[in-house]
């Protein structure tokens, strides 16, 4: 019933705009290529058929740092070349000045979106971008190995450590020399911020910088979390984990060489594919927490914003609404397995049938933890770098967690100055 209301309202909205607007040539810049882009083209064709507008895609390489630099150049030049930008979840506050406030234009539908996603795109009262799709990590585990050694799925990080150690030792004794207990993203980059934030938050160590702007990272719980993580390296995780990003971790785990892996949803379809060594041998669960604190999963994803400098703002907003409408999100979820941003799509039967993991991901997405990108505003990237550097130093055995966090706090204070 709710679905039909959404459908009706989005169709009505499109119809309303279509009748009032004159035909415009729009440009959308899109952070990914390949299958994502083919699908976007398909949706744009649908949009073009419904309206008089035309839309061209300006493609970008997959690396978000490359994209961010280029976007900043365009925006700084106040270029009207691009109307709609696809923004990474953490950019909203850093580029907010350059984007149109979408909240008056989406008032009728914003309640249907996953709240964490909307929160991550709201800077002050301004809605910088309308959530397009999400990303959230989970704990991937080898159910065959857990069964073999009669272990249950760990719900705390300590349990994970113990189980990983046990299975690793037993398997190695049995001749499986290449096996490791746990792989994650430990390279010094944004991914480590995500990983480490999850450890810290689930130990009750707070959010690095709280939503009100206070720096809270230098606390005992956070230190405990990082110390535990440091104990993994070289024991249950290979030393190389310090240079692993998503694909390196997946490579190790998917060739059957690790018991547990922390990774994003994209790995699910690949791990379940025909030539995967762990096909039918794995399952996913929410990330572990601690006693007394629930697990935390970092919120990822990409969202659509309309540039202030666009000469066709009305048509651009119409496009953003269309690309995030129920039908389109459903299609996207089925084809590319991106977790949608509309609550209702998670309950859609067809989606559940074709992408069985999407309903599984709803609790993960609901509890997802945004990075402190809104609180730290334009300084987020630097804050994140300082945080991952401190985490990386701790993991590498370069100083204890307590020492590194103390230094980190000093650096963040210096960075913050009077206010973020």
């Amino acid at each position: 019933m709710r679905i039909s209301t959404i459908l009706a309202s989005s169709v009505a909205a499109v119809a309303l705009f279509a009748s009032s607007a004159i035909a415009a040539d729009l440009k959308i810049v899109h952070g990914s290529v390949g299958r994502d882009q083919e699908m976007l083209r398909k949706h744009l064709d649908m949009f073009e058929a419904q309206t008089d507008h035309t839309v061209d895609i300006v493609s970008m390489p997959e690396s978000t740092t490359d994209q961010f630099g280029q976007y900043k150049l365009w925006l700084a030049a106040q270029s009207s070349d691009i109307d709609v930008y696809r923004l990474d979840v953490i950019w909203a506050a850093q580029v907010a000045n350059h984007f149109v406030d979408l909240s008056p234009h989406v008032q009728d539908i914003i309640g249907d979106y996953v709240p964490a996603a909307v929160e991550s795109q709201t800077v002050g009262d301004k809605l910088v971008a309308l959530p397009m799709f999400l990303g959230a990590p989970a704990l991937y585990y080898r159910k065959d190995l857990l069964e073999k050694y009669d272990q249950s799925v760990p719900t705390t990080w300590q349990e994970l450590t113990d189980t990983a150690q046990l299975i690793q030792d037993e398997e190695r004794a049995a001749g499986n020399e290449d096996i490791w207990g746990f792989v994650f993203q430990g390279a010094a980059y944004e991914g480590l911020t995500c990983n480490a934030q999850e450890w810290v938050a689930s130990f009750g160590g707070g959010r690095i910088v709280e939503p009100d702007g206070t720096i809270t990272i230098n606390n005992e719980n956070a230190a405990k979390a990082l110390d535990l993580a440091a104990s993994w390296v070289g024991n249950i995780a290979p030393e190389g984990v310090l240079s692993y990003k998503e694909e390196e971790a997946r490579g190790v785990w998917q060739t059957g060489n690790a018991v547990f892996m922390r990774n994003w949803n994209y790995a699910y379809a690949l791990a379940a594919s025909e030539d995967s060594a762990v096909k039918d041998k794995f399952d996913v669960a929410i990330l572990p927490g601690t006693e007394g604190h629930t697990s935390a999963a970092t919120l990822g994803g990409s969202h659509l914003g309309v540039a202030k400098y666009s000469e066709n703002q009305e048509a651009a907003i119409e496009l953003v609404r269309f690309l995030n409408s129920y039908e389109v999100q459903k299609d996207r979820a089925i084809i590319t397995s991106r977790p949608p941003t509309l609550n209702a799509v998670y309950e859609d039967e067809e989606v559940g049938e074709k992408q069985p993991f999407i309903p599984l991901w709803k609790p993960v997405v609901d509890n997802a933890l945004p990075r402190p990108s809104v609180a730290t505003a334009r300084n987020y990237n630097e804050v994140s770098k300082e945080f991952w550097s401190a985490a990386h130093a701790t993991l590498s055995g370069d100083g204890s967690a307590a020492e590194n966090l103390q230094k980190l706090e000093a650096k963040l204070k210096r960075l913050k100055g009077a206010r973020w």
């Binding site: 630099g69 925006l75 290449d178 390279a187 190389g240 310090l242 240079s243 490579g251």
Partner: protein, 290 residues
Amino acid sequence: MLLVLAAVAAYPLFRTFYFGFTDASLDMLDSVNWVGFRNYLEWVDYGDGEGEFFGLLVDEVWWQSVWNTLYFSFVSVSFETFFGLIVALVLNANFAGRGIVRAAVLIPWAIPTTVSAKMWAWMMHDQFGILNDLLMKLHVISEPIAWTASSDTAMLAVLMVDIWKTTPFMALLILAGLQMVPRDIYEAAKIDGVHPVKVFFKVTLPIIRPAIVVAIIFRALDAMRVFDLIYVLTPANDDTRTMSVFAREYLFDFDKFAYGSAASTLLFLIIGGVTITIFAMGKTNVGREN
């Protein structure tokens, strides 16, 4: 024509110098305030008699990256010159299949840096990289090395890839120099029974010295600006962060365009200084021999 080009090329450079003295943010390049040397050095008084210096000149991370850059450039250019000379001498000799080998030697230089850096990252992966596999099969190492992860080997890994990649550049420039050496000198030396090694040091080397000096200068300039290789292989690693990587972080990733511009300015001055030094050394050597 050349002057026009130089003027056009200088424009972005002077803008960078200028922004180094302002509070520019990439967001608002039109409205900037002059702040003097604040990006370089500034005394911040906490009001209670205590205070601290801030700015690039007291930024440890910056000086670490200056040191990394100089170390990287010195080691890589030295090895590249040495290997390049050997390769050039080999290619200058007459032997069957020389054309093929010449083309083969150029391959490392021909593959786009971003691709070859990724390729090596893959080959140096600790778990399924071929490099560890090979070294273990040869019993050089007993357990896999996490090349790009550990701080002991990260610089080594970067150097290895850079030397592999740019030796062809050196080799080709030196080879072109070798081709200018008149053949009959060798003939004469052979008839006189002078040892080939002596011929090399007394005849060949002095003739090709200018070519080598120019090659070294351009390689050094490139090495001191090294960016993509490190950016792909070991991003954000304090042990391998170079001046360019540092500048990029501030210019584009962080909201501190001015600080990044100041870093770029210093970078330019440091490179200029090193170039003049190399030049002075090259010149005095030549002078002495004359």
